[in-house]
């Protein structure tokens, strides 16, 4: 169980590539899995945008295949399924496996100087559990009445049997439960590994910030996924056994009932920490990348750690800002409002720390660096709009409009996804022994960030103008007809955004097998993972390294002839 001795190398195909205990293999499994689901979720987004821009028009190419009964047109029920599964897939089957499953697994042991995770069997189980969850989610799309239609939030009473009949919703809840279980397993593994397996000399304040971000994410995962797990259990029981946790009166007998708002509380007690779960790894990665490619120490390392810690703690007590329109008492609402505004402060601190890291740095504008800098922009923009949603008086009007959609896509989808892209371009050489093409990478970056900004900024305008979310056809309401051009603009930009991702997909697949071979440390970074040869041996470190320096010792005046130093070397006097 402890990472001390070197285990023999696996020999069979199954042990090497399928049921592997090696964190590096599991990381790659999570990566492929997550990228596949990001593709599926992305295609769903394209279909949503098609419908909104061209209501009632058959979807080109995919329409005949996916919606044969309606001649290629997305019917309202299918539209509901699309936005439900898009959200669920992107969060649980896309971002989580890529940022936390892949980069958590890849980075943590290598960066702290360990041979593997502390519980390798649990690690393997965590991948196959999320795989199973994905399969259940996929299955839910093929049952007779189709997939869940109640939104990724699944509020009762829409999500209990009257609102959504059929097994799709139940399977959705089971899938979320399984995926949650997988993340809890991973979380326990990450926390215990970071506490117990740091190499000698690797103090808590000598770890790369990527590890800190993943640590706090793991803590949130372990604490709050069980909450949604229980919430899903109660929902499943309501649907399958006719219990009355969330329905106001028992459907079968008319007896006493429960409370639909209870679900909202339980869901958002998890749901708000979830968004921090998704962004914390990206924050850590961005803080590291900015330092690496500015050839400067990360400004305010300890303050950044403190800010991440503050966000972790506060994330538990802000969830009510998702429920301002449910009739909360004024005092409760105002408390949530105040706390939500307070939780924006650590994010703002990080923003300034990032800028200060760049200030007077020797910038190397590689693709990972561009994505890291891109996060500063999209998170800054998205974060600012959060303040309008934190304020109750404006949130009353903005709730359930496209303003919210724009906000969370910028802060979550764009920021976390850019963090994931940055990490992918950055770690690719060590993971696969080849470089991703730099020109294609830069093209991918610019053709992503520009349309992305158009898509989600336009949503602020349409949302502020009153356009509700989760509507099938905005032109069906007279007061929304004048806003339809905004829908068209958003969709056109979204199609460009979607097409740009093909550049990445092409780059990834081509470079994986035919890319330029990478040297061991192409980016000239001193963290322990880059001290490994490529490919990294299955045992990682032949001898457990002894750490003498921090992770961001760039451009130190005492260094001669180079601007970086491995963490295993002492700084010259």
């Amino acid at each position: 169980m402890s990472g001390d001795h070197i285990h023999p190398e696996p020999t069979t195909f199954l042990r090497k590539h399928v049921f592997s205990f090696d964190h590096k293999v599991i990381a790659k499994q999570f990566l492929w899995f997550g990228m596949l689901w990001l593709l599926i979720g992305g295609v769903m987004a394209m279909m949503i945008r098609w419908q909104l821009a061209n209501p009632g028009q058959p979807v080109p190419v995919l329409g005949a295949l996916l919606f044969p009964r309606t001649g290629g047109v997305i019917d309202p029920a299918s539209y509901n399924m699309l936005f439900t599964m898009h959200g669920t897939i992107m969060i649980f089957l896309g971002l989580t496996p890529v940022l936390i499953g892949c980069f958590g697994n890849w980075c943590i042991p290598l960066m702290i100087g360990a041979r593997d995770m502390i519980f390798p069997t649990l690690n393997m189980l965590s991948f196959w559990t999320v795989f199973l969850g994905g399969m259940v989610g996929l299955w839910s799309m093929f049952v007779p009445l189709g997939a869940s239609e109640a939104g990724w939030t699944g509020y009762p009473t829409l999500s209990t049997t009257v609102g959504t009949q059929g097994t799709g919703e139940t399977l959705w809840a089971v899938a979320v439960f399984l995926i949650g279980a997988s993340s809890i397993m991973g979380g326990i593994n990450y926390i215990t590994t970071i506490i117990r397996l740091r190499a000698p000399g690797m103090g808590w304040m000598d770890m790369p910030l990527t590890v800190w971000g993943l640590f706090f994410t793991a803590v949130l995962n372990v604490l709050f996924l069980p909450v949604i797990g229980s919430a899903m259990l109660l929902l499943i029981m309501d649907r399958v056994f006719g219990t009355a946790f969330y329905v106001p009166a028992s459907l079968l007998t008319g007896g006493s009932g429960g409370d639909p708002i209870l679900y909202q509380h339980l869901f958002w007690i998890f749901g708000h920490p979830e968004v921090y779960i998704l962004i914390l790894p990206a924050w850590g990665i961005v803080a590291d990348l900015l330092s690496f490619f500015a050839r400067k120490p990360a400004f305010g390392y300890k303050v950044t750690v403190g800010a991440m810690f503050a966000v972790t703690v506060l994330s538990a007590v802000v969830y009510g800002h998702h429920m301002f329109t449910t009739g909360l008492s004024a005092m409760l609402g105002e408390s949530f409002m105040l706390l939500t505004m307070i939780i924006s402060v650590p994010g703002e601190i990080l923003f300034f720390n990032w800028l200060h890291t760049l200030w007077k740095g020797s910038l190397r504008l590689t693709t990972p660096m561009l994505f890291a800098m891109g996060v500063i922009f999209v998170f800054g923009l998205g974060g600012l709009t959060g303040l309008y949603l934190a304020t109750i008086s404006t949130d009353i009007f903005l709730h359930d409009t496209y303003f919210v959609v724009g906000h969370f896509h910028l802060t979550m989808a764009a920021s976390a996804l850019f963090g994931a892209f940055g990490a992918t371009y950055f770690f690719f050489p060590k993971m696969f022994g080849r470089m991703l093409d730099e020109r294609l990478g830069k093209l991918h970056f610019w053709t992503t960030i520009i349309p992305l900004t158009v898509v989600f900024s336009t949503m602020f305008v349409s949302g502020y103008s009153g356009m509700p979310r989760r509507y099938y056809d905005h032109t069906s309401a007279d007061y929304l007809k004048p806003l339809q051009h905004l829908n068209v603009l958003t969709s056109v930009a979204a199609f460009v955004l979607g097409a740009s991702q093909l550049i990445f997909a092409w780059n990834f697949v081509r470079s994986r097998w035919w890319g330029k071979k990478a040297v061991d440390n192409p980016w000239e970074i001193g963290t322990l993972d880059w001290s490994m040869p490529t490919p990294v041996p299955h045992y990682n470190f032949k001898e457990i390294p002894v750490v003498h320096t921090g992770p961001h010792e760039f451009s130190h005046p005492a260094l001669k002839g180079r601007d970086w130093i491995p963490q295993t070397e002492k700084l010259p006097a």
Binding site: P226, T243, L251, G257
Partner: protein, 213 residues
């Protein structure tokens, strides 16, 4: 279940103190996580119960108080038995230079007391089953209303975890018999018992919530 296999040199190496800490830390985080899960269920119970004027609601055939009390006592007894079993095993580890005699006695005590704990745990499961069966026979069904939903729902979730915990206890029992677990390799048993004690605590809270307060 003879002690001879335990008196022979264990084929597996003794576990290090570090490995014990690693595994126990993992189990503690797991229990912390699961406390949030059961905490959510209890929170829901308290919130929903608060809305009902009289509790328990009138006109429902309630679960049997004597049966539930007996089940609670049996469950607590099983935890005590497991605790004593581990104490015996740890004493066997501390018996330095005492030769195979003391080790054998310790191993026998460990296996026997663990079996008592496992047996009482199974008895609890049987009593739980009887409790449900009696309730259903009296006409109280889970879909009938809020009280029934809460009672059946929460006890089902607890029981599912008890089932898994019993499998873990059984695994340890078999392991003790095969010499896989003993005084020198105790952490899996310790952590299984820890989880069992946690399940115990959750049951006590359920008992208090449904039968006492």
């Amino acid at each position: 279940m003879t002690a001879t296999s335990a008196t022979a040199a264990l084929p597996l190496p003794r576990e290090s103190a570090r490995a014990r800490v690693d595994a126990t830390l993992g189990m503690l985080f797991f229990i912390g996580s699961w406390s949030m899960a059961f905490g959510t269920l209890f929170l829901s119970f308290l919130i929903l119960r608060d809305r009902v004027g009289t509790w328990p609601p009138p006109g429902i055939a309630l679960p049997s108080f004597p049966l539930a009390s007996l089940a609670t006592a049996v469950l607590l007894g099983s935890s005590v038995a497991l605790h004593l079993a581990l104490r015996r095993a740890r004493a066997g580890r501390q018996a330095t230079g005492a030769g195979t005699g003391a080790t054998a006695a310790a191993a026998r005590g460990f296996g026997a007391l663990w079996a008592v704990g496992l047996g009482l745990g199974c008895a609890f499961a049987a009593l739980q089953w009887w409790l449900w069966w009696a309730l259903l026979a009296a006409g109280t069904r889970p879909e009938a209303g809020l009280y029934e939903s809460l009672f059946f729902g929460l006890t089902w979730v607890h029981a599912a975890h008890v089932a898994i915990a019993l499998l873990a206890l059984l695994w340890v029992q078999v392991g003790i018999a095969c010499g896989r677990y003993g005084s020198q390799r105790i952490v899996v048993a310790q952590n299984s018992a820890l989880f069992w004690h946690f399940m115990d605590a959750v049951w006590v809270l359920l008992y208090l919530g449904f039968f006492v307060f």
